[in-house]
């Protein structure tokens, strides 16, 4: 049973280690092909994951769960990893040395994320979280000769260490006051023990601090713009898609499985933080001129949207968050793939550098445009339906507590503001004239990856049912109403 539960993780670790070993003994000549091969292999693992069945009982003495929720996230991470590897392969020529290690680190981070999807205990939570975070410290500063990359890595390291400190301190308090680190027994203890004391709340808030850092929620969002801008683009993409989804997986699991009995304490806090995060991310994005930095702010804003779904504490909201993360992965990867392809040719990440992209490389222009439109939530793209569900969840919550209407109002205002800066990018793509009108080459793998992402954005926007059903099944493990 235990081995069955972790076979996807095992496969990824084998892939990672064999990458390292082959590179040590017989370095691959073509680093790009290596990345593409790994991307395809991870894609195979993704297909393989559909053979697995969700389990009702836990593994490793309650540490680990392979339920529908875990499987949903594992698949999400696998798709994201495959696409990030394709992106890394395109990016490989900009990495001076250690390309194989770069791929291996991506795979190890992915392993951590897969573990995170199954976490059922604070101890495993910490271990898996650190596996992901420490890998990202290295990845973010991988362009060693570039000051911005080093700066991004350092900032992420220091603030990340700080947040890890808070988290582990908080875990100690939770363990000290309840006597358990397991989510199930924690929930049971809270249900019978009634209202917890201050020390427990203190510990719980510190744990949430660490998770808030992962998802870049206010007031722990401050690192995001700098790190997003400075890190190598595939790493930024992985941060935006994988790391953020991992944070949400943990947040959902901790809050809805472990801490659901004390929702009175945290629901209102999340409501306030969601509103603040929405405002910060979307307002902060307005004056940005660098596209990666803009997407950094955008990722803060989107954390706000998804927090809305958790703050609503209902089945609709939990399902909506899962759907949102699923489509958000394709949308963001689409944008970052286009950015990598463009910056490979032009060397700039400024929005002005994307002027005339619609003419210089129609497919990149279209992909980036669709990604921006989906992020802004324009129908019929998937981002629209994702937002629709989140808002529906908040409005449903507002039926019992009218304060949620305020959150919905803030969210609506945020959507309006976000249209401005997303369409600023669209304007550059289609309406501004480029100084240099030479065509930008697009390689076949990028083309394929872009088509996949665009098909997902449009497909899940129009035929939402398959993904919605998966998300709802996954969210049903929490038994919310």
């Amino acid at each position: 049973m235990s081995i069955y539960a972790i076979q996807l993780e095992i496969l990824l670790v084998i892939l990672g280690i064999s990458t390292l070993l082959t590179d040590a003994f017989k370095p691959a000549g073509d680093k790009r092909r290596l990345g593409l091969t790994l991307g395809v292999l991870v894609g195979v693992v993704f297909c393989f994951s559909f053979l697995l069945k969700a389990q009702t009982d836990t593994a490793f003495h309650g540490l680990y769960r392979l339920d529908a929720f875990a499987l949903y996230f594992k698949r999400l991470f696998l798709v994201a990893t495959a696409l990030v590897l394709v992106m890394s392969a395109e990016f490989a020529k900009r990495i001076e040395s250690g390309v194989a290690e770069f791929y291996a680190l991506v795979l190890f981070a992915a392993t951590g994320m897969l573990l995170i999807a199954s976490v059922n205990d604070f101890v495993l939570l910490f271990v898996a979280l650190e596996l992901v975070t420490i890998t990202f410290y290295i990845l973010a500063s991988y362009l060693r000769r570039q000051v911005t990359s080093l700066e991004a890595g350092t900032k992420y390291l220091i603030l990340g260490a700080l947040s890890s400190g808070f988290t582990v301190y908080g875990i100690a308090y939770v363990f000290g006051t309840t006597g358990t680190t397991n989510f199930d027994s924690l929930a049971a203890a809270l249900r019978t023990g009634g209202i917890p004391n201050g020390a427990f709340t203190f510990g719980m808030l510190l744990v949430l601090t660490g998770l808030g850092f992962k998802i870049a929620s206010v007031p722990f969002q401050i690192w995001a713009p700098d790190v997003y801008q400075g890190a190598p683009t595939p790493v930024t993409a992985f941060l935006a898609v994988g790391s953020k989804a991992a944070g949400f997986a943990l947040l959902l699991r901790v809050l809805l499985a472990g801490l659901l009995p004390v929702q009175g304490v945290w629901a209102l806090l999340l409501l306030v933080l969601a509103g603040a995060t929405l405002a910060y991310g979307n307002l902060g994005a307005l004056p940005q001129r660098n596209l990666k930095r803009l997407l950094g702010y955008s990722s803060i804003g989107h954390a706000g949207y998804m927090l809305m779904g958790i703050a609503a504490v209902n089945a609709l909201g939990a399902g909506a968050v899962l759907f949102y993360l699923g489509q958000y992965a394709f949308t963001n990867l689409c944008a970052f793939l286009a950015i990598v392809a463009v910056t490979n040719a032009t060397g700039t990440e400024e929005i002005d550098g994307f002027a005339g992209l619609g003419k210089r490389a129609p497919i990149l222009g279209l992909a980036l445009f669709l990604a921006m439109a989906s992020l802004a939530g324009v129908p019929p793209l998937s981002g629209f339906f994702g937002k629709f569900q989140l808002f529906a969840a908040v409005v449903e919550a507002a039926q019992t507590d009218s304060r949620y209407y305020w959150l919905a109002a803030v969210g609506a205002a945020a959507v309006v503001v976000s249209l401005y800066f997303y369409f600023n990018v669209a304007r550059a793509i289609y309406l501004q004239e480029a100084e240099d009108n030479s065509a930008i080459p697009v390689t076949a793998p990028v083309r394929v990856a872009l088509w996949i992402c665009m098909a997902a954005m449009i497909g899940f926007g129009i035929f939402q049912r398959p993904l919605v059903e998966m998300a709802v099944t996954a969210a049903s493990v929490f038994g919310l109403k």
């Binding site: 201050g198 808030l205 601090t209 007031p219 722990f220 401050i222 690192w223 307002l283 004056p287």
Partner: protein
């Protein structure tokens, strides 16, 4: 799969395949498009023969549910199969097939060959959608799709300014009618709560008479637009800017007939309302006479036919207004045959003369283009209503109906018939007889290839036989009320009318060098009036300039100064100021980041734990 769905969706698939895949391969694209509609025609024939054996309704496929909003709204995409729709299917796919094949020759060498066939297929899909609709929402959707595809086809040669303008004019004029139709549909829904044709008749009785008349009149607006009735008739003559096969398919045989078909489809709404019937009959009568008078003074071979189409559509609408659903559909069918024939014949002439459309530059063509001439002549006689051709039977059915119900409309109808014979005689005599006026063009004139003449012959045969034995009226309504015996004098008179018209035309125009001078002299000011189409375009331009222009200017001022400056400007300024302020938080300094992080934790803990 139910064959009805194949009939409907084959053209859509063809349009998609051509646009997305085979645009580069011109001949393949054209063949795909032809195959789609011919498949539809064959399946429709099967449907027609199956219909003879048993229940019509059992052939209809189960409707697909498209949109459900609670108990409030349920919208289906379904198909109605009855005598009315099968007849219309036969017309659309049959005449459509002929025109598709004809286009293979006519459009040969055009750079937009594939695009043309893609648009043609899209149009066919939309038109079939209207024919098959089983509810008002569906018919409205396809109604608009027909508008769009018609726009694409009229403006097919968009690089020509006049064609682009004509497309725009057609689309906008149609939208005016469609808006009325939409209001009518919504009003009907508020009264009955359903859009479905099958459920509506039972609920009509509950609607107050005044409201029902209003609904019928509003829905009739849609037909006024599509079937180019007065006062929205102005778009159809301009639509002749499109390629000639388009004029034949859309602006003679099918799309413009959609208005009449729709009225027949929703006859259950119109027949109970005396007021609406009067309105419809008179609009039809006025259009018939007005268009016929304009036609006598036009010089473009296609525009004459366009005004003739307006006039004949007027007959059909008038017939609906006189409660004659069967005569209306009968005339619709025969008209589709001979008018498509005439347009294709005109196209053949234009093709022969290298895109010359002015009848005064033609002449003596009967020797050069014999097939075109003979088929055109037969089409003309059918249109004029000469026995035993199809037009005689269908037109007489309408005139006799008018004789029974409304003597004044009968007089209008007879006058129109007289004029019809006259202007068609003028066209035939000027184009095919007399001496050639442009010798260069005449010397190079040639008969069109078989791919174009065969459809002419096919349509010619239909134009001759369609009226025989009253087969079509009997198909539409099996228990058609038999007409009472009419005085032999009346029938003889109706036969004499076109003959008189032709004789008058012959006396003026059947000479070596005909001209309009004698008529101009006789009519005086009246000639100027009809030559300028009663100045409708000028009148509309003035209305748009003064009424719409003033309102638009006021709105623009409000938008620019109140909304943009104060409203948007103020909001946007505040928002972007907030954004810029947030930037100061993002110093890039790691110490301050860590400080803010710690501060955040402290504040949260303070608020949740301590307070």
């Amino acid at each position: 799969m139910n064959p009805v769905w194949i009939i409907l969706f084959a053209p859509l698939i063809s349009a998609a395949v051509i646009t997305l895949l085979t645009r580069k391969a011109q001949m393949l694209s054209a063949l795909i498009s032809c195959a789609a509609i011919i498949t539809g025609f064959v399946l429709t024939l099967q449907l027609y023969s199956a219909m003879g054996h048993g229940e019509a309704h059992s052939l209809a496929p189960a409707p697909l549910t498209w949109l459900v909003i609670g108990d409030l709204v349920k919208i289906e995409i379904g198909a109605t199969i009855d005598h009315l729709s099968v007849l219309m299917l036969l017309v659309v796919t049959g005449v459509g097939s002929a025109i598709h094949i004809y286009s293979l020759g006519y459009m040969k060498g055009d750079p937009g060959f594939s695009r043309f066939f893609a648009c043609l297929s899209l149009f066919t899909f939309s038109m079939l959608g209207i024919v098959l609709s089983n509810n008002f929402i569906q018919i409205f959707i396809f109604w608009e799709l027909v508008g769009v595809s018609s726009y694409l086809l009229i403006g097919f040669w968009f690089e020509k300014h006049s064609a682009a303008e004509a497309g725009k004019k057609a689309f906008l004029t149609n939208r005016i009618g469609d808006f009325g139709m939409m209001l009518g549909i919504l009003l009907l829904w508020t009264q009955t709560g359903t859009f479905c044709f099958a459920e509506l008749p039972a609920k009509i009785a509950a609607i107050p008479a005044g409201t029902l008349s209003l609904i019928a009149a509003l829905i009739f607006c849609g037909a006024v637009g599509k079937s180019a009735q007065f006062p929205l008739h102005v778009w159809l003559p301009d639509a002749m800017e499109g390629p000639t096969p388009v004029s034949a398919l859309i602006h003679a045989a099918t799309m413009v007939a959609a208005g009449v078909y729709m009225l027949c489809r929703v006859a259950f709404l119109i027949l109970p309302s005396e007021t609406a019937l009067h309105l419809i009959a008179w609009i039809g009568g006025v259009t018939a006479l007005m268009a016929a008078t304009i036609a006598i003074a036009q010089n473009d071979i296609k525009r004459i036919l366009a005004y003739s189409t307006l006039s004949q559509l007027g007959y059909m609408v008038m017939a609906v207004g006189l409660t004659g659903i069967t005569p209306a559909m009968f005339h619709l069918t025969t008209h589709a045959f001979f008018k498509a024939l005439l347009f294709l014949g005109a196209g053949s002439v234009i093709h022969a003369l290298h895109h010359e459309q002015d009848i005064w530059k033609m002449g003596g063509l009967w020797k050069k283009t014999p097939v075109t001439f003979w088929t055109f002549l037969i089409g003309t006689l059918a249109l004029a209503g000469v026995p035993p051709l199809s037009g005689f039977y269908s037109k007489d059915a309408i005139l006799l109906l008018a004789f029974e119900h409304n003597k004044l409309l009968f007089v209008i109808g007879v006058l129109t018939a007289l004029l019809t014979a006259y202007y068609m005689g003028r066209e035939v005599f000027v184009v095919f007889f007399g001496k050639p006026r442009d010798h260069h063009a005449y010397d190079h004139a040639h008969e069109s290839p078989a791919v174009m003449t065969l459809p002419l012959v096919f349509l010619c045969v239909l134009s001759v036989i369609a009226g025989w034995g009253d087969k079509i009226p009997h198909f539409i309504s099996e228990h058609m009320a038999e007409h009472g015996e009419h005085p032999a004098l009346l029938t003889a008179g109706l036969i004499a009318v076109p003959v008189i018209g032709f004789l008058v035309a012959a006396s003026i125009y059947l000479r070596p060098n005909p001209s309009d001078e004698p008529v101009k002299k006789a009519l005086g000011k009246l000639w100027t009036l009809v030559e300028n189409k009663y100045y409708f375009d000028e009148l509309y331009a003035l209305i748009i300039k003064y009424v719409q222009g003033t309102i638009a200017t006021l709105c623009e001022l409000f938008d620019r100064f109140i909304l943009q400056k104060v409203g948007i400007g103020g909001l946007a300024g505040t928002t972007s100021l907030a954004g810029k302020t947030l930037r100061y938080l993002q110093t890039g300094n790691i110490q301050s980041y860590a400080f803010l992080f710690g501060l955040g934790v402290t504040v949260i803990i303070y608020y949740v734990v301590v307070r």
